[in-house]
């Protein structure tokens, strides 16, 4: 089973990398849009998986592995430092607040939706 969790994390990280490269090529602002969307959508999906009351094995492979590897906390914080160091303190603060607020809110919405469906 531990092998499947690692594989899930590998797939999640590759999706994160591919999405980030595509968004970075198309976007025109310095706001870290890719990581923002990834972290919020991942929080929604993991909330939903929790609400669906899936079996522990399914939760570990798709939740801990796939979605856990898809979202990232280290990139989020490093991007805040990068924004602050490139004279964008307001955007750094906006990124921080919107990520924490949005992530928490979407986790709750996903959880409720999962409970309705499950």
């Amino acid at each position: 089973m531990i092998l499947m969790i690692g594989l899930g994390a590998a797939v999640g990280s590759i999706i994160r990398y591919v999405l980030t490269q595509i968004v970075k090529q198309k976007q025109k602002t310095v706001f870290p849009l890719a990581t923002f969307v990834i972290n919020l959508s991942g929080s929604f999906l993991l909330g939903m998986l929790l609400g669906l009351n899936s079996t522990p094995v399914v939760y570990k492979i798709f939740g801990t592995g796939l979605i856990g590897g898809y979202t990232t906390f280290s990139t989020f914080n490093t991007e805040i430092i990068l924004l602050k160091n490139s004279d964008q303190p307001k955007m750094a603060m906006a990124y921080l607040l919107s990520s924490y607020l949005g992530g928490g809110l979407l986790a709750i919405i996903g959880w409720q939706l999962g409970k309705l469906l499950g």
């Binding site: 856990g68 590897g69 280290s74 914080n77 490093t78």
Partner: protein, 125 residues
């Protein structure tokens, strides 16, 4: 745009980062999430400002270590779900979990940046 060696490197490194996160979570529960998120924020900022900013290492290695290993080792979704679980199970720990993660994550990333700056300075001499 996508090099096969970068994708493979990210997948292999992320396999180990995600597995390590799972094991620490099984062992330490909520504290495991705090540990991976704080140490990972330090490591990624260090890597970004030391290796990536100066093109010290080949691209496949830095994306493997940064995007793959550390990116997969840390998690934003589990952080939110931990808090969701704490609302019903452990309200006393909720505020300290949130504050430790928010302040500690940013602090550790800043520390990683400072350490990288020191390394860079030392090597310029």
């Amino acid at each position: 745009m996508f090099k096969a060696q970068n994708i493979i490197s990210i997948g292999v490194f992320a396999f180990f980062g995600g597995t390590l996160r799972y094991l620490l979570g099984e062992w330490l529960s909520y504290n495991g999430t705090i540990l991976v998120n704080l140490s990972g924020s330090f490591l990624l900022a260090l890597l970004t400002y030391y290796a990536i900013a100066n093109n010290r290492w080949p691209e496949w290695l830095t994306v493997g270590l940064g995007t793959g290993f550390v990116g997969s080792y840390t998690t934003f979704s589990t952080f939110n779900i931990d808090m969701l679980k704490m609302i019903t199970q452990n309200q006393a720990g909720l505020l300290s979990y949130f504050l430790t993660t928010v302040i500690g994550g940013l602090g550790c990333a800043f520390l990683g940046y400072l350490v990288a700056k020191q390394f860079n300075k030392r090597e310029q001499r």
